[in-house]
Structure formats: C-alpha cells, structure tokens
Amino acid sequence: MAAIVDSPLGAEDQRRLDVLYDGIRHDAQTFIGYPCNPLFDYSPLFRFLSYPVNNVGDPFVVGNYHLNTHDFEREVLEELRRLTRAAADSFWGYVTNGGTEGNMYGIFLGRELFPEGLVYYSEDTHYSVSKILRCLHVRNIMIKSLPDGRIDLDDLRETIKIHRDVPPIIFANIGTTMKGAVDDLDGIRQSLDDLAIPQHYIHADAALSGMVLPFVDDPQPWDFAAGVDSIAISGHKMIGSPIPCGVALAKRSNVDRIARSVEYVGTLDTTLAGSRNGITPLFLWYAFRTVGFEGLRRRVHECFEVADYAIEQFRRIGRDAWRHRNSVTVVFARPLPPIIHKWQLAVHHEVAHIITMPHVTRAMIDELIDDIAQDSPNCAREDDP
C-alpha cells in the first residue's frame, strides 16, 4: 500500500496551524455577534471522516455512489418535516451547504414554476439574496421595511397591485439578519387574496428562527401550515455544526413539476449541487438523537433568558436595547469600533446586535456591558451614585 503522506508537515507549516488553532480558540471566547452555536460534540462521528462520503444526488433516489448517508439524511428531513408542519405526502428536501443554498433553491423553484414571476423582498433581507437574484436572472423588486425590520405590507401591496398580472414570488424573512424580524405572513397572504392573485409562490428564509419557532408556545406564522411553499433553515446555527450546513424544504408537488424539465436535460437530480456533503447530515441526525426536540426547546428558552438579561444590562447603563418576540437577536446602538472588533459584532448603519446563542453566558454579557460602559462615559449606570 502506498504511503498516504509523502512527507510529514514541516515545522513552519505545523507552527502556522498551531497559530491558526490558537487564534480560533481565543476568538471563540468573544463570539457573540453571529448566529452560530459552537456547543456540540460530534466526536463519535469522526471515523466517517476517513472516507470520501458524498451525498451526490437526490436523497430520496437510489444512486450508484454507495458511500453516502442518504438514509440518515432522510431521517433528518423527516424530523424537519414535523417541525415545519409539512404534509407527509407532499414533502421533499435535502441537506444543503447552508442557508444561502436553501434560499437559492426556494427562489429557483419559484422561478421554474413562474418563469415570468417577480420576486419581492424587503430591504432588510440578507445581502446574499441580491446575489441569488442576479445568479438566477430573475426580475425583482425590493420593498421597504418598517423600522422594526418587517416588510412594509402597504408598500408590498401597492407594488404588487401594479404588477398583478405577473405571479409574485415572495421572499419572506422569518427572522431578519440584523433585527430578527418575522415578516407578517398572514398579512402577505391577505394582500394576495385581496388582490385576487391566485398564482403565487412564498419562500421563507428561516435560517435561524426555523429552529427557534417550533419550540415556542406562540410562534408567528412561518411554516408550511402557514402557507409557505419552501423553507430554508440553517443547521450550523441553533443546532450547531463545525461545518456550515442547512436544509432546503419544499412541497413535493412543486418539485415534481420542475423535475420534468430537469429530466429533459438528462438527469433527475433536483438538488442545486452535484457532490454534496455526506457528513453534515450525520451531524444533524446525531443532534436530533442526542439533544432531541425537548433539549432544543430547553435550549431556546435559555437563550431567551440570556437575551432578556442582556437587555436589562444595557438598560442599566442607560443604553436602549430590544428584541422581537421569539427572537434571540438583541438590537442596540452601534458601539465604538474596538468593541465591534473584540466581540465580532454585526453592524448595519446605526445598529448592532448580539445573538444569544446557547454558548453565550451572562458572564460574557457582563463583560460586553462593561466594555461599552467604559467606552461610553456618558452612559448612566443605575447603580451609580
């Protein structure tokens, strides 16, 4: 058998890896601005990394590449079918490379069903959607957002009214990137009904909130039962994964309709990617088996408690902070650059946010608040004399 490694890694290369590892470990201590959950242990699955596992193709179709995890991927999808309240007899999906691929799949499906359709999306939509719209060469109109981040229904209705002969493809945010706002799906559907537009498509970008809303008592309408046609959810966010991943979920009836056009070009693979990650479905499956729905529910509620704690602490130093109902995104005024850098905060114009993912502790919040208070001498602390 030939040697796997021709020569061991040189000392300089080894040193570079060590520096990189130490940097990542260090920066993970102040990682509170982005919605990633680093609390996971998938070490029992590491043995699968020794093989070129590849989930190429449709997870529901048997292929010739046997080194795959399609069985486990389908089980993950079944769990998500239950969480998104999709009909058992009309459901399809696959594990993606992340939220953007899931969103691209949703818009792709909408465009294939309605080639002349117009995509409507709010100005608070994630920047990657502009890129998707350009890649798919689909016509699109950005709609204004309300100050709280939700799509402005008046503006949407007025704009759709002008183009009522063109099927609308609505890109709905189920938790906007900066403010965690959930677009009013009932209001959107009501507008479509009022305008007597029977042909439409609604895609839901539920990257983070798709694994939050199933575990709250009073979720905003967001899922298949609320009338959406496809949903994208990230796997590396609330569930947690060392490799970015997500799911694209859709109604099978729609997927079957576009599959006919795919078949015409000689393949029935309806996924966007060819080769697909076969390891991340195992991570998601393992999380569902070891954390479970009850564990996720507990985790989500603990995140809300830390979010509320953060809001209290901001207010204690005289800074306003707020979050939407059922959101773990805490919004506050943009702080000074050193604080943004240290805490890896996402900022947009005048606002910044932290996202109280499961690893964010009250101690981290206290340190952040101290940093902000020290850099903002005008902040009044309630406990100041």
């Binding site: 100005e123 016509r139 109109i141 950005m142 204004k144 008046d154 503006d155 183009h163």
Partner: protein
Amino acid sequence: MKQVTIISEDRLGVVAEICEALAAARVNIESIDAETVGGSAVTKLTVDRYDDALRALAQTPFHAISEEAIVLQLEDKPGELARITRRFKDAKISMRSVRIIRRATGTSIVAISTERTEEAMELVKDVMIS
C-alpha cells in the same frame, strides 16, 4: 468615459475617502460632482478605468452603482415606489431589478435596472439623480 454613482451617509470626509480608495487602485478621476440628497451624499464620478473603480469601491463601505442602473430620488412613503414602477408598466418597459439603496430623512434613493435604459431614463427624468 463611464459614470459611477456612489451613495453614502452624508458626513465630512466622504469625498476624500472615495478619492483615496480610487487613488490606491490607480484609477484617475476625470470629473467629480457631489451633492446632498435628502440625508444622503450622492457622488457622481467619471473615471478612466471603470471596472477597476467599481472593484475598488466594492472594498469600501460605500454603495457604488454602475451607469447601467438608473438612480432615483423618491419620497419615503408607502406607494411611492409603486407610483414609479407603474410608469414602467404603462410604457411596457420590463424592469430587471429595483433596489432601495438608502433611506434617510424622508427620502429613498432607489436604483432601477432595465434592458431599455435610455427610454427608462426619459420616463423618470423628474426624479432621476443619475
């Protein structure tokens, strides 16, 4: 010679920062025109190396818009965008994309791209910035 329009917040130093970014990319500015629109700064440039300029500006916080897009100044109120898109609809000019670039002090700056730019510019010349 092609034009680039840059939309940014209206504050001191914006033009200097734009010029520095372009100088670092060895792009010559042939003409420059800066004005305040609503609460935003609108800077219009013509440059000798258009693609390099767009690439350099993409690395800055500023929003650079190529001359293929029409930039409009609209009132920031519900239905205003619909009012403008109706003109395109009535003229049977298909829009490829409509993007809100910036909203400040009651004004929206909107970029529209279409495959019939010249005709589209005629339609919206009353609200066109560039």
